[in-house]
């Protein structure tokens, strides 16, 4: 019994062990550059942007929807908030307000296309991402706006608290809010039920369209806010947004193997981002090359999904064996501690299914 519980811990928290191993490895390998406060600071604040984007895609994924427009929306608000301040002379807060609203607007359009026009979210948000890219060109006039120079603007994300930039604490706050929303409110229950089986959820009297729409609006809104933070932290960039997309999905899928294996979850996503970020930072310090992050994120996405599929198959095999040995009326001890995560088989949709379903289209997206 004790042994089994220990295994379960390894299973659900394997990410932490991996993380610790990486810190030890790079700590021994390149102690002078890796074990420094500047490394901690840069990983904490840089990855906060990725983690928040990961949380943005997590919400629609839980509802069984893809939002591929998050990268474009991040970029859109990055540019809008900068242009309004430096080119139109707006004050900071109104500029932020309008930028965030533009993000919300993209979410509303996404929701309309998916819920009313019944276009699959994959296609709808892929199309919207491209439309938004065009809007960015129109707004920016194809030239990168100057970063706003006010102190308030820089302090928005760069103020240090306990030696770490405040943007990291924004991530913590966002994670807490989404954790509450997804795990402790009826809205979260409805969203994950829709993701698991939309028809069964509808027939339970749940207004599924509403929750699908909400999930897409939440992801676009969060992305909009992330764009503001990015603009303040690193300055407006015309090309940064799309590079966020893959790490965000990699984190969400990798996160679905942690804490609650088989389900997308908030803390798994956040931890996954930091595991990847630590690994990338360490490798960059060791090798000094720039392509490490692409390599790392791409491999991580594939490995995470392959792992989820493998785990699902293992769980199914175990279930088949368990069912064979189950007797009516007897307490089946095997049922209590499934060695694998319980994700989907018939009728249900887990991370592995979602990944498999749109695998080919995902390949198309990375080229876009």
């Amino acid at each position: 019994m004790k042994l089994r519980r220990l295994n379960l811990g390894m299973d659900r928290f394997s990410g932490f062990y991996l993380w610790a191993a990486m810190i030890v490895l790079f700590g021994i390998w390149v102690p002078d550059t890796f074990l420094t406060t500047s490394t901690v600071q840069s990983v904490a604040s840089q990855q906060a942007i990725t983690a928040m984007t990961g949380l943005a895609v997590l919400v629609p994924l839980l509802a069984g929807q893809f939002d591929l427009s998050v990268g474009a929306v991040v970029n859109l608000t990055t540019i809008i908030v900068a242009c309004l301040q430096t080119r139109s002379g707006w004050a900071m807060w109104p500029a932020i307000g309008v930028a965030v609203l533009s993000g919300v607007a993209v979410g509303v359009v996404n929701a309309f296309i998916v819920v009313r026009l019944k276009v699959s979210s994959f296609i709808a948000t892929l199309g919207m991402a491209t439309v938004v890219t065009a809007v960015i060109s129109i707004v920016s006039g194809q030239s990168q706006p100057l970063p706003p120079s006010s102190a308030a603007w820089n302090n928005l994300t760069q103020t240090q608290i306990f030696g770490i930039q405040v943007v990291f604490y924004y991530l913590v706050a966002l994670a807490l809010i989404l954790w509450w929303l997804l795990d402790h409110t009826p809205a979260g229950r409805y969203i994950s039920a829709v993701g698991g089986n939309p028809e069964a959820t509808r027939l339970s009297g749940v207004r599924t369209n509403r929750w699908v729409a909400l999930s897409l609006i939440v992801s676009a809104t969060v992305s909009g806010v992330v764009g503001i933070f990015y603009s303040s932290l690193d300055g407006p960039s015309l090309t940064f947004g799309p590079t966020l997309l893959l790490p965000a999905f990699a984190a969400a899928f990798l996160g679905s193997t942690q804490f609650r294996p088989g389900r997308f979850n908030v803390w798994g996503t956040v931890v996954a981002v930091y595991i990847l970020g630590t690994g990338i930072q360490g490798m960059e310090l060791v090798t000094g090359v720039q392509w490490i992050s692409d390599l790392f994120n791409g491999i991580a996405l594939i490995v995470a999904v392959a792992f989820a599929v493998w785990r699902q198959n293992a769980a199914e095999a175990t279930r088949t064996r368990n069912n064979a040995r189950r007797r009516p009326g007897s307490r089946d001890s095997q049922q209590a501690n499934p060695p694998g995560g319980g994700d989907a088989s018939d009728g249900g949709v887990g991370p592995a299914d979602i990944a498999a379903r749109d695998a080919s289209a995902a390949a198309a997206e990375t080229h876009a």
Binding site: N197, R321, D343, D346, G347, G348
Partner: protein, 522 residues
């Protein structure tokens, strides 16, 4: 082909010598003995029914035959050749074929292409020889006694025809391997009555061809109709091995369950006979319904009968809003229910248990707890959190009340529960709302006998508490057992209504098929 026919005749003559002979099969899993010294013989030309409740060891036995499980002791011979345990190749090579509930047909392809997929298309210069393939497909179908055009798409076939195609595919085998034993795992679980008859004919025909058929089913009424002999397993032990004909249903149930078990009491009818209808449906019209009007009073259990295509399978879903409604009104206690979706019906006090629990009933990858409370979370919500302790307490109570097993494992995902227990969970989801009207499509399909009785007991109790319960079922026995009144549909329209003493299996069936004999019912 001529050689093959000769061989068949020869084998049919040998009839009586077991094709499948299992001796002393024993398989233990930690904590349980799934099979305890089980013997089983199936002869050429015999249909042998294998019966048992969920967890009795049936599936373990089948999985031993298919090479999935390695037994701890015992032996299996197929036509005199020893089966090598744990090897699906050996099982296949010796001539064992398996048809599961999931037929594994490609619906978007034609019957012909489905039949050719396994063993390969006849081809010349890497090009499929269409006519040769079609000829071959026709022969295969004829051998299985299935009257289907090989050019048809599988998606256009009735469920019984699809099973027939799967049988034809199983019988084909390789050129080198003849099919000797055909194992069918609950092929009729999801079939309507008329289709069952058709399928049972196919199975008889296959057996006449000299194959030994091992037939697993939950439907006791078809045992006597199709099987020559039967074996009953209970808790891994063979408790009966007898001729199928002349076995009384009550005896079978006693063997299956292991104790005398009482049939649930029937609801008595409207609590107040002259009371106002709780549910009234007026002129309901849809793709498969034609101006259906009916009423149900508190305390009534109304059955909906009819052959497939009569509108029986669509009526309750249309009332609820699961299926689109073209025209007509639905009212609960005089208040009209909006047609724009299931949520309106739920808030009007209607609960609906769909026929297909995997695709429409439950969210399989979520915990049972979340399934149970999904339809109404408001009482559990106390800002800012959902009250988990209260939710757990409710789950515990429902597990207790409906004897859901395994006990109190409501944090497990729904898919981990057996069919009967899943169905009880989904029923509990609605009972929890104390619905005024409860609609159930095929409430006990693919459910073991004990769970079935429990579900019936709950339905009767719900009616006694003043709800109106409507059950649409292809299982006429079920309707006769629990309903106070049965409405029979024909071509989308109610054509008969049976009440009181007239709620009987024979009368319901006669009305469902119409007064004149119906030729093709599929």
């Amino acid at each position: 082909m001529a050689g093959r026919e000769l061989a068949e005749t020869a084998r049919a003559v040998k009839s009586g010598i077991p094709l499948l002979a299992a001796r002393g099969l024993t398989k233990a899993f930690p904590g349980t003995v799934a099979l305890d010294r089980v013997d089983l013989d199936v002869s050429a030309g015999e249909v042998h029914a294998l019966l048992g409740e969920n967890g009795s060891g049936k599936s373990t036995l089948i999985k031993v035959l298919s090479g999935y499980h390695v037994p701890d002791a015992g032996s299996v011979e197929i036509d005199g050749q020893p089966l090598e345990f744990g090897s699906s190749v050996s099982s296949y090579d010796l001539g064992c074929r398996f048809i599961h509930q999931d037929l594994a047909l490609v619906e978007t392809m034609t019957v012909r292409d489905n039949l050719m997929l396994g063993a390969g298309f006849p081809s010349r210069l890497a090009t499929v020889r269409d006519r040769a393939a079609e000829r071959e497909a026709r022969q295969m179908l004829a051998r299985a006694g299935v009257a289907v055009n090989p050019k048809q798409f599988v998606s256009a076939l009735s469920p019984a025809q699809r099973t027939g195609v799967a049988v034809a595919r199983a019988l084909r085998g390789d050129v080198s391997v003849e099919t000797k034993v055909l194992v069918m795992d609950e092929p009729t679980a999801t079939l309507p009555e008329a289709e069952v008859t058709h399928l049972l004919e196919i199975i008889r025909a296959v057996a006449r061809g000299g194959v030994g058929v091992l037939y697993v089913t939950h439907r006791l009424d078809e045992v006597g109709r199709v099987a020559d002999n039967l074996t009953v397993l209970r808790d891994g032990v063979k408790v009966a091995d007898a001729a199928a004909r002349g076995m009384a249903r009550e005896d079978l149930v006693r063997l299956l369950v292991g104790s005398d078990f009482e049939e649930p009491p029937r609801a008595t009818g409207p609590l107040i006979p002259s009371s106002e209808p709780l549910l009234s449906v007026d002129g309901l019209t849809s793709e498969s319904l034609d101006r259906v009007s009916l009423e149900a009073r508190p305390g009534e259990v109304v059955g909906i009968a009819g052959i497939t295509g009569s509108g029986r399978e669509a009526l309750l879903g249309t009332i609820f809003g699961a299926l689109p409604r073209f025209d007509g009104r639905v009212t609960v206690s005089g208040r009209e229910v909006h047609r724009d979706g299931a949520w309106a019906a739920v808030s009007a006090g209607i609960g609906y248990l769909p026929a297909d629990r995997k695709s429409n009933g439950g969210v399989m990858n979520l915990p049972v707890r979340e399934n149970l409370t999904l339809a109404r979370l408001r009482p559990l919500w106390k800002a800012p959190f959902l009250r988990r302790t209260r939710e757990d307490a409710e789950c515990r109570r429902w597990f207790e009340q409906l004897s859901i097993r395994p006990k109190d494992r409501f944090n497990e995902t729904l898919e981990r529960f057996s069919g009967g227990n899943q169905q009880k969970v989904l029923l509990a989801k609605w009972l929890r709302l104390e619905p005024r009207v409860l609609l159930l499509d095929e409430p006990t399909q693919g459910v073991d006998v004990a769970s079935k009785a429990e579900i019936h007991r709950q339905l009767t109790a719900t009616a006694h508490q003043g709800a109106a319960v409507l059950i649409a079922s292809s299982d006429v026995d079920e309707l006769a057992a629990v309903c106070t009144r049965v409405v029979v549909l024909h071509e989308g329209h109610p054509t008969a209504e049976l009440q009181g003493d007239r709620v009987r299996v024979d009368l319901i069936s006669r009305e469902a098929h119409g007064s004149e004999p119906t030729g093709r019912t599929t």
